[in-house]
Symmetry: C2
Subunit: 323 residues, 2 copies
């Protein structure tokens, strides 16, 4: 039926992949994610088919400063969720490193614990964009893991920067992880992550000053406006699994709270709104840049800006109007 | 001459401010920065006038994990630069906190040491955006401080996230600050800040394991591709001023290297290119949001996406074509 039998039919490829993803194929999910990341037409076709049937997975974002043990906590949480008979998708957001030319897998290797478990799907994503780059298609990957049947999707970021916080804060439950002695709560506040936490975890709590860290978090939270949910501050030693059951219980409590208050639907509506705006911006940018590159305007304008003949705002206006 | 004599003439306001900034008025610079941050027309007019006459200041970006002592180092560096008879502009990038409703000034208060020194200009900037938010007009502020006559502009970030790294990595010299025991170099690598450093500083070097931190940094740097400049790893106790003179000397060496190799002009050209792309993104976002709010299409489309009747990419396409 394809009009060009020499090429694969994007719709047919997409339909095939979607069916396999819904049937639980990890391989198909991995392939679909790659297609979406690369902006391939098949990927977008597949998302269109898949999208209406998603929304079952519960998403948990995990953020915090480097070295807080986020990966270890995700690993420990995964074990608990699996022990409860539920499936898990893990999205690990890594900065792209020019040193390695791709996502830094580092301790993700440890994740291979779960490699043979069909109930766990792990994906590392590089935060590819730098200059002007938006976070890549994390929300698309969430939908794919949702279609794959993951009951929980854990989204872990490496840093606690603006881009990462943005991705994580769109989750249903947001966990902020810290460790004793990493700096006081004021430092966390300064990093802008205090206000997005639904749940705080002081990891490596066998270190001195763990209780002080908890107290500080509670004090900072006391300054926050009342939101109907008082974020708990829990202690874990994730590497030994201590306190992790309590974290999972707190996630479930938070979920129950959101559902009872009708806030889960509201949060998700906000998230979808953000997805639309992101997609819109990406499409416009692509269109403008493709045009400007094709006709040489981009380089010409950059040249003028570099020479000081034009300021960047006027240059941007020219590019945007030149479409 | 204004066509609307009841309102101030943006061009006249802009010209007046620009003249005052070039004459060295801190007050005019502060006012101009606020106008630019608020996206006021006068601000953009002023930037257009001012832009061709900038490019004299040397910019230094300072990044690293929270608690590493970046502010203290900036403070100590400022004292040294002033002692050498040169002027300093400081841009401190803070995340916006919904708790406080603005930039978190925190220990910036300490900066008031310099408040009476006409050779130092300090500005805190909030990283306002969250969902899809870009770093605000840091590059515009750089140009304003350049016009003000600052010989050095120090740009300090609070976090080490993508957005911050992006801003700082556009500087002529990038300093990555860490402290002993904050986590090993692998953590820094993971945070994506290892590869942007022209200069590494292990602060609080009176703590144990300072030498180990230096060794680790040097080892990681040994893995990097040769770039003609081997980033030094220096030890400081910024609060007591120890090692800070060496940091300033290393900045000057790096500058000399860049100039000799013709790389300074190249870096700045790249930076201006980035400024154009940033401005473009900002204008696209503004246009998209204005459009969507004005005609109600956005909400209608978001509704369909929330209901699962439409996927975000198709929704974006519809909004884009609907213009």
């Amino acid at each position: 039926m394809s009009r060009d039998p020499g090429r694969r039919d994007p719709s047919r490829v997409a339909d095939g992949l979607v069916a396999q993803v819904f049937a639980g194929s990890h391989q198909a999910a991995a392939r679909l994610i790659s297609l979406v990341e690369d902006g391939e037409r098949e990927g977008l076709e597949a998302l269109r088919t898949l999208y209406p049937r998603t929304g079952k997975a519960y998403t948990v974002g995990i953020t915090g400063p480097p070295g807080a043990g986020k990966s270890t906590l995700v690993d420990a949480l995964t074990k608990r969720i699996r022990a409860a008979g539920e499936t898990v998708g893990i999205i690990a957001i890594d900065p792209t490193s020019p040193f390695t030319g791709g996502a830094l897998l580092g301790d993700r290797v440890r994740m291979q614990d779960h490699a043979t478990d069909p109930g766990v799907f792990v994906r590392s994503m590089a935060t590819r964009g730098h200059l002007g780059g938006l976070a890549p298609a994390t929300s698309d990957v969430i939908h794919i893991l949702d279609a794959l049947g993951c009951a929980f999707i854990l989204i872990e970021t490496v840093g606690a920067g603006q881009g990462e916080v943005e991705v994580v804060s769109a989750a249903d439950t947001v966990i902020v992880v810290t460790v004793p002695g990493l700096g006081d709560a004021v430092q966390m506040l300064k990093a802008g992550i205090m206000e997005i936490g639904d749940l705080f975890v002081v990891n490596k709590a066998d270190r001195p000053e763990a209780d002080r860290a908890v107290t500080e978090i509670n004090m900072m939270l006391g300054l926050a406006p009342e939101r109907g949910w008082r974020p708990p501050a829990l202690k874990t030693v994730a590497i030994g699994g201590e306190g992790v059951e309590e974290v999972l219980a707190a996630i479930r409590s938070h979920r129950a709270h959101l559902e009872a208050a009708g806030q889960l639907a509201e949060r998700r509506r906000e998230r979808r709104r953000g997805e639309v705006l992101h997609a819109l911006e990406a499409q416009i940018r692509e269109e403008v840049l493709a045009q400007a590159r094709a006709d040489g305007t981009l380089e010409a304008v950059v040249e003028q800006v570099a020479d000081g003949r034009l300021d960047p705002h006027s240059a941007a206006k020219r590019l945007l109007r030149g479409r």
